[in-house]
């Protein structure tokens, strides 16, 4: 039975690969890619989600495929953790694929065929990353994923900005891959083979274990977009076509979380609390930094990309707390933190996928990404507006939607801190909870800005007035993910139990007895009387009151309405340009958090004949880290180029010296 789930997942991944290849033929008209490829991909995604869901409840299954290099077959393994991430990948990819079926319909044949290939190879490689059970296959799948996504990011490769975004992405991806490779090397330690079983069995000294942890944390962190390795993310995500952005942000970042959990909890094992503190500090920085920069953006997709940075930070906060608790020997609280982190991983995949799809529909119909040129889209695109609202409320961690549940669980984890023996760490955990609370409120502000500027108010540009709602495929894709936001938000217990199973398979410990007895109505993470939450009652009371009020007001009074112009405060000429802009909305934050930003502002003087207000906000990391690193790299390569003399005799001398050196060392 459990081998079936593994075979089935492999078949689904193979189906993606086959769809990708088929998308190429017949290349001239790209008939297959236009009609069947994406719906087929969605079906394969659904199947994969089903198999993954199945695997969560089954013992781990293994398989060895006689592929790859001689003597190095591919090892595959499907355990609850892989099953959970396969479910995430399959379910979110299904929605995005349906959307893509509509979105890419109008592409030119050649481009469409290529997108079809890359898109499905990308999906299949992510499934393989999750299924891999040896370092070799893992790295192959990881790099395939990086390359496939690189080509997807550079779909519009004729624009130089997109080429450089793609280059930056590839660079950081490879730095990360290098760190991961080194981490596997440390775990391997020169013994045995590179199967995960052998790595798991290796016993490392604390120093080497910490080295392996740091390599894995920063290697996977580079892919996940944590600071200071996030710089590629706000460049690459907006560059890609919107369904691809949704995949990158919703799913690919999660493979990095998968890798982090897999390597730290499973392969290295013996989690130490000091590691947890490192993760917490980086996570807190990432969370705050992400949301503060998101507030400054007016490009919708860039803004969403910065929110991905923020949400990765929230996931890291949960993971870090879990590691602290496990390190101090409180596995039950540790399991709660892990559950919270993984729940947020799933939630973020769903709502961020949804938001990027919504951004794609706006881009498609209004032709704009700049918030300052939008406005009033709720009248033109009411359905997209509704789905986007669901996503916006979910990401703002508002009950009863899904973002709230996982943040709530993270808070509950932080509130377990009195069990810790170390007084300093005990009082540190609530500070991280404070960070999370601040970030949550800032996110709400940011999405009021996004929604208020883009969908509400009046159109700021004529193009916005002619926008049309998304097509059927696109709407269905968004509806699928929006439904996910509701299901994950309203019935959290089912997912809590699933994740508990994942936690047990990883750490050997699960949540408390009381938590496992939560039913569909009540979510109880630790003990009754300590904390509980019932999203269904929550929603029912609000919805019931709304309905009751509506009926009562009409019963006792009336429902008469008159329509009039908005109140103009006595100024007759109210134009759409007098509305708030995205930049204006962020102005208070700029004022309060000034030192965080690198700001360049030019204020026109009173006598200026052509007054122009310029404001440019840049990421401080560029100047503090990336540009110095780039200069260092240029300097070093200039020094290395001294070796290149261009004379054959010198090169022969190099060969000769190398030979001597080899003879000395390899006796």
């Amino acid at each position: 039975m459990n081998a079936d789930a593994l075979t089935g997942s492999l078949a689904a991944a193979a189906c993606w690969l086959a769809t990708g290849v088929l998308a190429l033929v017949p290349a001239r008209r790209a008939w297959f890619a236009r009609t069947l490829a994406f719906p087929l991909g969605a079906l394969a995604g659904l199947a994969l989600a089903g198999f993954g869901l199945d695997a969560i409840w089954l013992p781990a299954a293994r398989m060895t495929l006689p592929l790859g290099l001689p003597g190095l077959p591919f090892h595959l393994r499907l355990d609850p953790l892989s099953g959970f991430f396969l479910m995430l990948l399959g379910a979110v990819a299904a929605g995005i694929s349906v959307y893509a079926a509509g979105y890419f319909r109008g592409e030119q044949p050649g481009r469409l065929a290529l997108i079809g290939l890359q898109y499905h190879v990308f999906l299949a490689s992510m499934a393989l990353v999750v299924l891999a059970d040896d370092a070799y296959l893992f790295m192959v799948a990881w790099e395939t994923m990086a390359l496939a996504s690189y080509f997807l990011v550079t779909t519009d490769h004729r624009r130089p900005a997109i080429r450089s975004a793609g280059f930056l992405y590839l660079l950081v991806a490879h730095l990360g891959a290098l760190a991961i490779l080194l981490c596997f090397g440390v775990l391997h330690g020169g013994r045995g083979d590179y199967a995960f079983d052998a790595l798991r069995a290796a016993s490392l000294s604390p120093g080497w274990a910490t080295a392996a942890f740091l390599l894995a944390f920063f290697g996977f962190g580079a892919k996940a977009g944590m600071i200071p390795l996030h710089a590629w993310l706000p460049e690459a995500h907006p560059a890609a076509p919107s369904p691809v952005s949704a995949l990158l942000s919703g799913v690919m970042l999660k493979t990095a979380i998968y890798g982090m959990v897999r390597v730290i909890y499973d392969l290295i094992g013996g989690v130490r609390w000091e590691w947890g503190l490192v993760v917490l500090v980086v996570g807190a920085g990432t969370t705050l930094f992400g949301v503060l920069y998101a507030l400054m953006q007016h490009d919708l997709k860039r803004l969403l990309a910065y929110h991905s940075v923020e949400n990765i930070g929230i996931i890291l906060l949960g993971l870090g707390m879990s590691m602290v608790f496990i390190g101090f020997g409180h596995p039950v609280a540790g399991a709660l933190g892990l559950v919270a982190a993984l729940y947020h991983t799933l939630n973020h995949a769903v709502f961020k996928g949804l938001l990027f799809l919504g951004a794609g529909s706006i881009l498609r119909s209004a032709g704009r990404r700049n918030l300052n040129e939008m406005g009033g889209l709720i009248h033109r695109m009411p359905r997209t507006a509704f789905y986007f609202l669901v996503g916006a409320l979910a990401i703002s961690a508002l009950p009863p939607l899904n973002g709230f549940v996982s943040e709530w669980l993270t808070f509950q984890t932080a509130l377990q801190s009195p069990v810790l023996e170390n007084g300093v760490v005990r009082s540190l955990l609530p500070l991280f909870a404070a960070t999370l609370a601040l970030a949550g409120a800032l996110t709400a502000m940011c999405f009021v800005k996004v929604y208020g500027i883009a969908f509400l108010g009046r159109p700021r540009q004529p193009a916005g007035a002619e926008a049309r709602d998304a097509g059927n495929f696109e709407r269905f894709g968004m509806a699928w993910l929006a439904a996910g936001c509701f299901v994950l938000g309203l019935f959290p217990t089912a997912f809590l139990l699933m994740l508990n199973r994942v936690g047990v398979s990883l750490t050997g410990h699960g949540l408390s007895e009381a938590a496992l007895e939560s039913n569909w109505l009540w979510l109880i993470p630790t003990a009754p009387g300590q904390a509980s939450y019932s999203p269904v009652i929550f929603l029912a009371v609000i919805a019931g009151t709304v309905l009751l009020c509506w009926v009562l007001v009409r019963r006792f009074y009336h429902g008469r309405v008159r329509y009039a112009d908005p109140w103009d405060c006595g100024y007759p000429e109210q134009t759409a340009r007098m509305q708030d802009t995205a930049d204006a909305f962020g102005q208070p934050i700029r004022h309060v958090f000034g030192p965080v930003y690198r700001m360049h502002r030019v204020l026109p003087s009173a006598e200026d004949p052509a007054p122009r207000y310029v404001l440019k906000i840049e990421d401080r990391h560029w100047y503090a880290l990336y540009l110095p690193a780039a200069r260092l790299a240029a300097y070093l390569s200039a020094k290395v180029s001294l070796l290149q003399r261009g004379r054959i005799s010198i090169y022969l001398l190099y060969s000769f010296l190398t030979l001597i050196a080899l003879l000395v060392f390899v006796r």
Binding site: G375, I378, H379, L393, S396, W408, F411, Q412, L415, P418, G423, R426, S427, A433, A434, A437, L438, G440, A441, A444, M445, F447, V448, K449, Y451, G452, L456, R458, W522, G529, Q530, A531, S532, Y533, S534, I537, F538, V541, I542, A543, T545, V546, C549, W550, V553, V561, Y563, D565, P566, W567, D568, C569, Q574, A576, M578, Q579, D580, F585, I589, V592
Partner: protein
């Protein structure tokens, strides 16, 4: 506690809070008028205002969307939920576990987001301005509120408001320095969240200063009535949260009909004192410049965090 009695208590409390909330607003206004040497309006004036608004025809801007019309009802629903969760008269209400303190803060956040969105719906410059300012206040007030509640949660080992109140009401009398910090922080948050002086002035329509009023400028008639009513319930809920956390004595356990009169009398006395105190604060303080609001609220946030740390130092 039998289930039926619990549900009866729950319904009684929800209805009572919703009906009594405008009375608190009226009382605060009356006290303020006395303190400012004006002749006071009737205690029931908020009710008359609501009735008058309900009778009027709603005037809605031509380009308003459905969101604009739904929002007053959503606000009212959120506040009703909050009123049902907070232990006003009794602890151990059957619906109270549906939302703990984090979810309670979430309800207020939900209401805030909806009112800010509705403010931006018509597309006037005032609406956007109000929404922006409201979110500015909210992003600091919300975490400060959460940290205040966390301090109480750490003391009682629970995030359920009803358990917290039970623990705090039945403890030995001892002064918790952490709770003192939390109380000051909570008071500051209460002022900010309920659009009172020194953050906002509920009686002004001056564009330079208004926050909450700017958001609801486009509303009229029944929509405005629902919003005003929701605002009154919000003030009531905040004051009762403060009472529940910092002065919980006298509260009845759910289903205990004999304890109810005492609980009601204690509540009335505490509410009257709190309302008078609020009026005093509003009379003594002047409104802060808008950009001092973040400083005011970050002070509240830091005080709350400090209270939490002190709790850990005291036990550790």
């Amino acid at each position: 506690m039998s289930n039926a009695a619990g549900i009866a208590f729950q319904l009684l409390q929800s209805v009572l809070v919703v009906l009594a909330a405008p009375l608190l607003t009226g009382w605060v206004n009356q006290c303020r008028a006395w303190l400012q040497n004006r002749s006071a309006p009737s205690l029931l004036l908020p009710y008359y205002t609501l009735a008058r608004l309900f009778h009027k025809d709603a005037v809605i801007a031509k380009n308003a969307s459905a969101l604009f019309r739904v929002t007053p009802y959503v606000l009212f629903g959120c506040m009703w939920l909050a009123a049902g969760i907070v232990p006003v008269l009794a602890t151990g209400l059957p619906f109270a576990p549906a939302a703990d303190i984090v979810a309670l803060v979430g309800v207020f956040a939900l209401a805030r987001v909806f009112s800010a969105l509705a403010a931006m719906d018509v597309g006037t410059s005032f609406g956007g301005l109000g929404a922006r300012r409201e979110m500015l206040i909210g992003f600091l007030a919300e975490p400060a509120m959460l940290m205040t509640l966390f301090t109480a949660a750490f003391i009682s080992g629970s995030t359920q408001l009803t358990t917290i109140v039970d623990t705090l009401a039945h403890r030995e009398f001892a002064i918790y320095p952490s709770l003192a910090f939390a109380a000051v922080a909570f008071l500051m948050v209460l002022l900010a969240e309920n659009a009172r002086i020194p953050i906002d002035n509920p009686t002004t329509h001056l564009e330079l200063t208004m926050v909450h009023e700017a958001m609801i400028l486009e509303y009229s008639a029944r929509h405005l009535a629902l919003i005003e009513w929701a605002v009154a319930i919000k003030l009531f809920a905040y004051v009762t949260i403060g009472i529940a956390l910092f002065l919980p004595w006298g509260i009845a356990p759910a289903g205990d009909w004999s304890g109810l009169p005492l609980a009601a009398a204690a509540l009335a006395a505490k509410l009257a004192a709190a309302g008078a105190g609020l009026a005093l604060i509003e009379t003594l303080l002047a409104k802060l410049r808008l950009f001092l609001a973040p400083e005011f609220l970050s002070t509240a946030f830091l005080l709350a965090v400090l209270g939490m740390l002190i709790h850990f130092l005291a036990i550790g």
